[in-house]
């Protein structure tokens, strides 16, 4: 009940954000947070629930951006371009999964890293197709149902709608039998096979789901900047997404969102005051690993519970005294 209330309250705050946060600069930062949170949530399906840490998700994210940008440049309407882009991302995810799911652990990480680098290489070096380092410009943002998304506020609300859709889908997925099966393959793959589960197929389908959500994030990333360059597919982007997941809390729903907020705020807000903001972000990550290895959200919950217990104990002691 409290969970549902908290969720409703959070939605209300987020939906009214453009009205109380009047500075467009901050509205844009909120959009960025939502976009990166979608990518972090996508990665969390694999890294968190499947126990498969991918370092190639920027490849899938950028794949959607590039596919949509190229389709629009080729004359397609925005809707067609988006559908094509998501289809292309799904195909890429399937190829990623077929190759990387031969292994788990470090080998899985290395294979996804290599696959991500291949896509980055294509974006960077296949200049006749991708325009190389110069990237691709998009003339305008899409206008769904004739509503222009050119203003920061309108774009924020559209991104929020997609974000809420993704969060809801994640929530349903995690609580479903399939979600439970996926977590089972993370904890006891051998036992799962002996119980009759097709561990490979479960992981494969989870990979597709993860890739699709990464693709949705990639679309909004393109619409936000109206520009995409090879940097979107770089290893640095993959690592950043992974850091969001790990710092926020792997295998939780709120964790990756909090992690995305942390990184984006550091990047765009703290960098205005501190030149070496990367150093501060690094220090924060080290602190998280040292003091809250389970991530910010589960760590805070643990602290809060401990504090409440201590307060109750003190109250009980005072009562007795």
């Amino acid at each position: 009940m409290t969970r549902r209330l908290a969720f409703a309250l959070a939605v209300l705050v987020l939906a009214t954000l453009p009205f109380w946060l009047t500075n467009s600069y901050y509205v844009n930062i909120a959009s960025q947070i939502l976009i990166w949170a979608m990518l972090a949530l996508a990665l969390n399906v694999l890294a968190g629930y499947a126990g498969l840490v991918s370092l190639g998700h920027a490849g899938l994210f950028g794949m959607a951006s590039y596919a949509a940008a190229l389709s629009v440049a080729g004359g397609a309407a925005h809707l067609t371009a988006a559908v094509l882009a998501l289809a292309a991302t799904l195909v890429a995810s399937a190829v990623f999964a077929l190759l990387s799911l031969r292994s788990t652990g470090i080998s899985f990480l290395m294979i996804t890293l290599a696959l991500g680098q291949i896509l980055w290489g294509i974006a960077y070096r296949w200049i006749s197709l991708t325009n190389g380092d110069n990237g691709i410009n998009l003339l305008s943002r899409p206008a769904p149902f004739g509503i222009s998304l050119e203003s920061p506020q309108a774009f924020y609300l559209a991104t929020l709608a997609a974000f809420l859709l993704v969060v809801t889908a994640m929530e349903i997925f995690v609580a479903s039998p399939f979600g439970a099966s996926l977590c089972g393959t993370r904890d006891q793959p051998r036992r799962m096979t002996a119980l009759g589960y097709n561990v490979w197929l479960i992981r494969f389908l989870a990979f597709l789901f993860s890739g699709l959500v990464a693709g949705i994030a990639g679309l909004f990333f393109l619409y936000y900047d109206k520009f995409v360059s090879p940097h979107a597919l770089s290893l640095a982007t993959s690592a950043e997404a992974l850091l969001m997941v790990i710092s926020g809390g792997t295998g939780t729903l709120i964790g990756p969102i909090a992690g995305a907020a942390l990184v984006v705020v550091m990047k765009y807000v703290a960098s205005a005051y501190i030149e070496r903001w990367n150093l501060v972000l690094g220090a924060i990550f080290v602190a998280i690993v040292l003091f809250m290895p389970e991530g910010l959200v589960p760590g805070m919950l643990r602290l809060w519970r401990a504090m409440r217990r201590a307060r109750r104990a003190r109250a009980a002691a005072a009562h007795l005294g």
Partner: protein
């Protein structure tokens, strides 16, 4: 009818032959005990029967059907269930969720990504019944991490029984238990109806003898003795190999 038949099964790890031409047949409803010293290849034999390992040669028949090439997960659907010598459960979940995962493994519902698992009342009910069967009904909601080792041994058995197997493979179900706990688990195993054929690996002969109709003695991957309980116990090779006298 023969529930399980193993014919001339071979398996080596590198140069070490762990299953050397093993043949055995277990009748439907039989209670078979497999004994042998450490490294005799008992657990490897189980892994071959469940399909976790592939044999170099030989055949495995389940109720007359050749399952040698059938993947492990499908053998569960054909009625093979097992427990593990080293406890292999879902540590972050409750006992109930552990049992639910066992039931879900054979249900088409396991592919469903949209219903809420905790709203599937009949599944939870069956899981509770499976836990009640091993005497854990009262603590079904407890996280596995807060249970004792003996209780986890019971969960292992509950997970296997929940799948209503035709062939149950128990890998050292008494390992690490106290004398009383062993007695309780033995009573539990003796209470399993005869529709279920049981093959059990066990070191503890004192506890396990009462269970066995027939005994197979393995040593260095070979079947040394195979016969009724009395025959194998009386066999001088049993004393030599196993009892170390």
């Amino acid at each position: 009818m023969t529930a399980l038949e193993v014919r001339e099964l071979q398996k080596s790890f590198g140069g070490l032959t762990v299953t050397a031409n093993v043949s055995l047949a277990v009748k439907e409803g039989e209670r078979r005990l497999i004994i042998g010293p450490n490294g005799a290849g008992k657990t490897t034999l189980f892994n071959l029967i469940t399909g976790e390992l592939k044999p170099a040669s030989g055949r495995i028949m389940l109720f007359g059907r050749d399952i040698t090439r059938i993947p492990s997960r499908l053998r569960a659907h054909l009625g093979v269930a097992r427990t593990y010598q080293i406890i292999t459960l879902f540590p972050g979940e409750t006992l109930l969720r552990n049992a639910v995962l066992s039931l879900l493994g054979l249900s088409p519902l396991r592919w469903n990504p949209v219903v809420r698992l905790d709203r599937l009342a009949s599944l939870a009910e069956d899981a509770r019944a499976a836990l009640a069967r091993v005497g854990l009904g009262a603590i079904a909601g407890r996280p596995l991490g807060e249970t004792s080792y003996g209780e986890r041994r019971r969960v292992e058995i509950a997970m296997a029984l929940a799948q209503r197997p035709r062939l149950l493979l128990l890998d050292e179900p008494f390992a690490g238990l106290s004398v009383e706990e062993r007695r309780d688990i033995l009573r539990l195993i003796l209470g399993i109806p005869r529709e279920v054929t049981i093959v059990m690996i066990e070191h503890d002969m004192d506890t396990a003898l009462e269970f066995a109709d027939r005994i197979t003695l393995l040593h260095f991957g070979k079947v040394i003795a195979d016969g009724t309980r009395a025959e194998v116990v009386a066999d001088p090779r049993t004393r030599e190999v196993y009892l170390g006298e």
